[in-house]
Symmetry: C2
Subunit: 278 residues, 2 copies
Amino acid sequence: MIRYYNLNGKLTEVARASLQVSDLAILRGFGIFDYFLVKKHQPLFLADYLDRFYNSAEKLGLSVPVERSEMTRLIRELIAANGLEDAGIRLVMTGGYAADSYTPVAPNLIIMQHEFKAPPAWQYDQGIRLMAYDHQRELPEIKSINYLTGIRLQPTLKAQQADYLLYHDQGVIRESDRSNFFGLTDDGILVTPDDKILRGITRKQILQLAADIVPVEEREMGMDEIPRLKEAFLTSSTKGVMPVVQIDDQPIGDGRPGDLTYKLGELFQELVGAYRMV
Amino acid sequence: MIRYYNLNGKLTEVARASLQVSDLAILRGFGIFDYFLVKKHQPLFLADYLDRFYNSAEKLGLSVPVERSEMTRLIRELIAANGLEDAGIRLVMTGGYAADSYTPVAPNLIIMQHEFKAPPAWQYDQGIRLMAYDHQRELPEIKSINYLTGIRLQPTLKAQQADYLLYHDQGVIRESDRSNFFGLTDDGILVTPDDKILRGITRKQILQLAADIVPVEEREMGMDEIPRLKEAFLTSSTKGVMPVVQIDDQPIGDGRPGDLTYKLGELFQELVGAYRMV
């Protein structure tokens, strides 16, 4: 059971952690967040996530009210207070209580802890299906809280019997709604889009792990390359390495999770298992 | 002084009107809103605003928890409770408290009242300046709470000594960040964009008022038409008819508010002054 969040620097019981309705997240969807896993009380790859969080804030013109060392202390305090070995941590920062309903003021900073439910095992065993959708995320390099399109399309996804979205910008592949996309080409090169995407922390780890075993390219990928892919997968902090076996009506390779996908998933789990915060 | 908001059907003191941090507006910027003025205790053009609000909800897959007649009653109750003759009313509805941080559940509905501060008189006397920006708003026909780009660019606007944004989609004019755009061409036609914009209620009224005095076209407008405009203005519930005298470095007409702009502003104020809710 999660008993506490941290609201503006103070441990706060979950039911009491609330924001007044004049907050700019509520009025204007204006805020950033980040999310990472905790394993054996260790926040995974914390330095990378904090880099991104502080960077998102700066790019939106917001100033995080605590330094990184204090943020780390607050995160550790929350992990200790809730007492869960494994969990997810969500950092959220909003534009604050705006008198004019538009101009950011002192941000509200919330550190939440969630019980972590991994995706169902069948998704790793059988692989998942993507629905392609022409959409360029707004300010993609910033981990903003804007998920209008992703959430709005969830019923459509279900109706199409697909699991996640694959955004493309007029035929140029970008990313899934909460994950990065990788494809293994028929000539054996692992490719992932590099432009107008969120640079995932898991994506970064996978690029490093893959570099030892396969040629890797970060470059523009066209939707027209999909029929020629041998394997494909998504990466994210919650999914790790998630095999993709179909995009719209197009099966990937032989329609089953591929060997490279499986190998990278294994290497990533080993990395996570061996992780110790420095 | 505004003492009350209405939170999920109940009059609630402003300082106590808050949402738990698991609300989807805070976690995912997922919500809609609308805003209209109250004059002499009368909500202006309420039927139009409620049409749009319920339509925005439907398009995002959200269900407003009260019928229109009950919504109208709650709005009137709030206006009576706060006792202000003139004000602004903001309706906000979010995706609710999502257990999985992603899937909308029972929405939270907030009715807020704000003291209405009209734009400064000099803006109407001298006209305002726009900064053009290449941006297509996401789900433009829905009045969602997503104002990431508009808010992020406020410091840039100030640095450029401009007052508002003019969004264009690769050279095709759309709208300002919180207003619709109109231009009077050199051959005397009043033009306003018709595609991928929010259909403003003030825009609708101006189209009706203008139809009696000038040829009107709702059509695609190119940025390349700006040098040939004789007049330009923005419309919104807070601005009414706001003259535009410059876009980037390009003066509009002779660089002063135009006669048609002035006339339409006057007609709109007369309409507002004579408004009685039916």
